[in-house]
């Protein structure tokens, strides 16, 4: 190594830093191993399994959106096809008693996703931007509608089911109990996360970022942006296929919903809400959205409406997602000025929550009168019972909504001032903001 590289280039990670980084993964593995010891109930194991699947799926989606700048409306195609192929594979393996244990079956889903990405991606990745988005939507609709037409393969409305326990036993595990599925998903999640993280740190990974930022310029440094996009698309298809395979194994069924627009939308949601600008963003988003969809659906019947509101709020006010919100505070933490903004957050929280409570009351009341007007007006939302027919509830909703908004608006200004103070103070201390 020459003097120039030694003095000018960013320092290479030291042995201590490498060790710390490596131990982070080991720690993650240990945490995944011990998680069922703390939350061992069947429902929490199912939740964890769903989160793992969602993490792989969201990260694969972010290879497209966050890393290469391709907005896809049809990523579920590769997830779903991976799932269907795996269900058929399990049935074939089980029927013929082939020597294939379940843990390697997700690879079949991955290869399916990859093959279809290879096949369908060549044309759609010719262009990025609107053209890519439109083609992805068209392909998704095509595949989703053929799922209902080609009954022999996709099983029509009912889907196709399989019995995962009929495969070759590995160490005496037949993968019937949810705990064994949890470990299967956890292992694949860890492998996939490491692989996708490694991908970002390769020449291809960096050229993906370059294509995202400026595809025109990429051509003038020797790279074909189409090839870069195509390769990214194939990787995304592969990992989506693995996620779909794990979902199929988890539910022992694959149906047309796997391929549908709702599934494609959900992964876009999770990835964006988590934050597309950070590797960890989609992981955060997958965890958040899985918990939210499981939790909200118990609390209110219009949970999808709240989902949409959250998505709009994130797009408008936090384009960096949840991760972006946290990362914004890193310089403040470093400079020790974080305490200057936190009190303003607490103050702003009170009227903002009041406003949201008013909004929820209004939404639930309106839903009651539009969806089930004949029912008893004593309804329950988010565990709180109230009378949707009572004018005092309407009044309270209005007061909370309007009063909360007016008060909150003032506190938001205060938050803005506190933020500016804290960042300029951090800058004075020499921390880049």
């Amino acid at each position: 190594m020459s003097d120039v590289a030694a003095t000018v280039a960013p320092p290479l990670p030291t042995a201590a830093e490498k060790l710390r980084f490596f131990s982070l993964w080991v720690l993650a593995a240990v945490a995944l191993l011990l998680l069922p010891q703390i939350f061992g109930s069947g429902s929490s194991l199912t939740t964890f399994s769903l989160i793992g699947i969602s993490i792989i799926f969201s990260l694969s989606y972010n290879i497209l959106l966050g890393q290469t700048g391709m907005l896809s409306f049809g990523h579920a195609v590769y997830y779903g096809l991976g799932g269907f192929l795996v269900i058929h594979a399990i049935n074939i393996i089980g029927a013929n008693k082939l020597p294939v244990p379940l843990p390697i079956v997700p690879l079949i889903g991955g290869i399916t996703g990859l093959l279809f990405a290879v096949l369908l991606g060549w044309v759609s990745t010719q262009r990025s931007g609107t053209a890519f988005a439109m083609i992805s939507l068209g392909v998704a609709e095509l595949i989703a509608s053929s799922a209902l037409i080609l009954r022999t393969f996709f099983g029509g409305e009912a889907g196709v089911s399989a019995n995962r326990t009929k495969l070759l036993k590995l160490f005496g595990w037949n993968f019937g109990p949810q705990i064994q599925i949890y470990y299967l998903v956890a292992a694949w999640t860890l492998i996939a996360v490491i692989a996708m993280y490694a991908l970002t740190r390769t020449p291809l990974g960096r050229m993906c970022n370059a294509v995202r930022d400026n595809p025109e310029r990429v051509q003038f440094v020797g790279y074909n942006p189409h090839t870069v996009r195509y390769l990214a698309f194939c990787f995304a298809g592969f990992f989506a296929g693995i996620a779909g395979a794990l979902a199929a194994i988890n539910f022992e069924i694959a149906n047309s919903a796997y391929l549908g627009a709702a599934q494609s939308g959900t992964v876009l949601f999770a990835t964006y809400i988590g934050g597309i600008g950070f590797f960890i963003g989609p992981i955060v988003g997958a965890i958040f959205v899985t918990f939210l969809s499981l939790g909200l659906s118990d609390l209110t019947q219009v949970w999808q409406l709240y989902f949409g509101l959250i998505f709009i709020a994130v797009v408008l006010f936090a384009p960096g997602g949840i991760t972006g919100l946290f990362m914004m505070h890193r310089p403040l933490l470093k400079a020790g000025t974080l305490l200057r903004v936190l009190p303003s957050y607490l103050v702003a929280l009170v009227p903002t929550l009041a406003m949201l409570a008013g909004l929820v009351l209004a939404v639930e009341t309106i839903v009651h009168y539009t969806v089930n007007p004949g029912d008893d007006s004593h309804i329950k939302a988010f565990g709180v019972g109230f009378d949707a027919a009572s004018p005092s509830v309407w009044a309270m909703s209005l007061v909370l909504l309007i009063g909360g908004f007016l008060a909150a608006r003032r506190t938001w200004v205060w938050v803005g001032h506190a933020w500016n103070d804290a960042t300029s103070l951090a800058r004075e201390k020499g921390v880049a903001t």
């Binding site: 000018v8 280039a9 290479l12 020449p203 291809l204 960096r206 990429v218 003038f220 440094v221 020797g222």
Partner: protein
């Protein structure tokens, strides 16, 4: 020895409008050649044709004797021709270091590798560091390119252009919008970075042109009306009439 760049009977029409009517231009290897002319003469279009951004309507473009017209930009770049842009054209969300490294990757044979750790490529690291030091942006190494000052972005633009080690460099108005002091620094930088390479430069600042170029070609209304050394161009009556005379008046 064949010329570094040779344009033969180049025509380019946009619809019915002829932008380039008959361009014949030869740039010898190792030469610093300036392309001047009034606004709208077709200088940037000429650059776009040479670099593969557009294909000519007719005529031939040769890079060191090899026909390149109609090839996509990345193919031409791989054959050793690199260009900069009049409007800064960098990877805005990536750091200065990442910008330069992306420009180095292809020429060091990394291609689309997804099995190599990017931080573990000594040759890439070395060359990126050299370019970074050369364009004097070491202190700004980790800053996203979009947050650089204008002059810094222009320096980065030149850095990206030369980073791949191309033998033929095309610079499109590299000092446009710069202050006098910044222009001087930019010219020194260009001189240093294009040492031993062929340079074709479009420039409006005549002090830059006459200070830097070995030869000058004058493009007016889609035609080259004169080619020669700075002295010859200064003394050429046709050039005076069409271009320099107006500027001087």
């Amino acid at each position: 020895m064949s010329a570094a760049i040779e344009l033969n009977a180049i025509k380019k029409n946009f619809g019915d409008i002829a932008i380039l009517r008959d361009i014949n231009l030869s740039v010898a290897q190792g030469e610093r050649h300036a392309l001047i002319g009034p606004n709208g003469a077709g200088k940037s279009t000429t650059f776009n044709l040479i670099s593969g951004y557009m294909a000519p309507t007719s005529g031939s473009v040769k890079l060191r004797g090899e026909e390149i017209s109609g090839l996509p930009p990345y193919q031409i770049n791989r054959r050793g021709l690199s260009r900069s842009f009049q409007v800064t054209n960098v990877f805005a969300n990536m750091s200065v270091w990442e910008n330069l490294r992306c420009a180095v990757l292809w020429s060091t044979g990394q291609r689309y590798a997804f099995w190599k750790n990017i931080d573990n490529l000594p040759q890439v690291r070395e060359r990126t560091a050299k370019i970074l030091a050369n364009i004097n942006l070491t202190a700004r190494r980790d800053v996203p390119a979009g947050l650089l000052t204008y002059a810094e972005q222009r320096a980065l633009e030149i850095g990206i252009t030369v980073a791949g080690g191309a033998n033929v460099i095309l610079l499109d108005e590299p000092t446009a919008g710069m202050s006098h002091a910044e222009t001087e620094r930019a010219v020194a930088l260009i001189r240093r970075l294009t040492e031993g390479r062929t340079l074709l430069i479009v420039e409006h600042d005549m002090s830059v042109v006459f200070g830097l170029a070995d030869r000058i070609s004058v493009l007016v209304y889609g035609q080259i009306i004169a080619s020669g050394t700075p002295q010859e161009i200064r003394g050429n009556p046709k050039v005076k009439e069409a271009y320099l005379g107006e500027e001087a008046a």
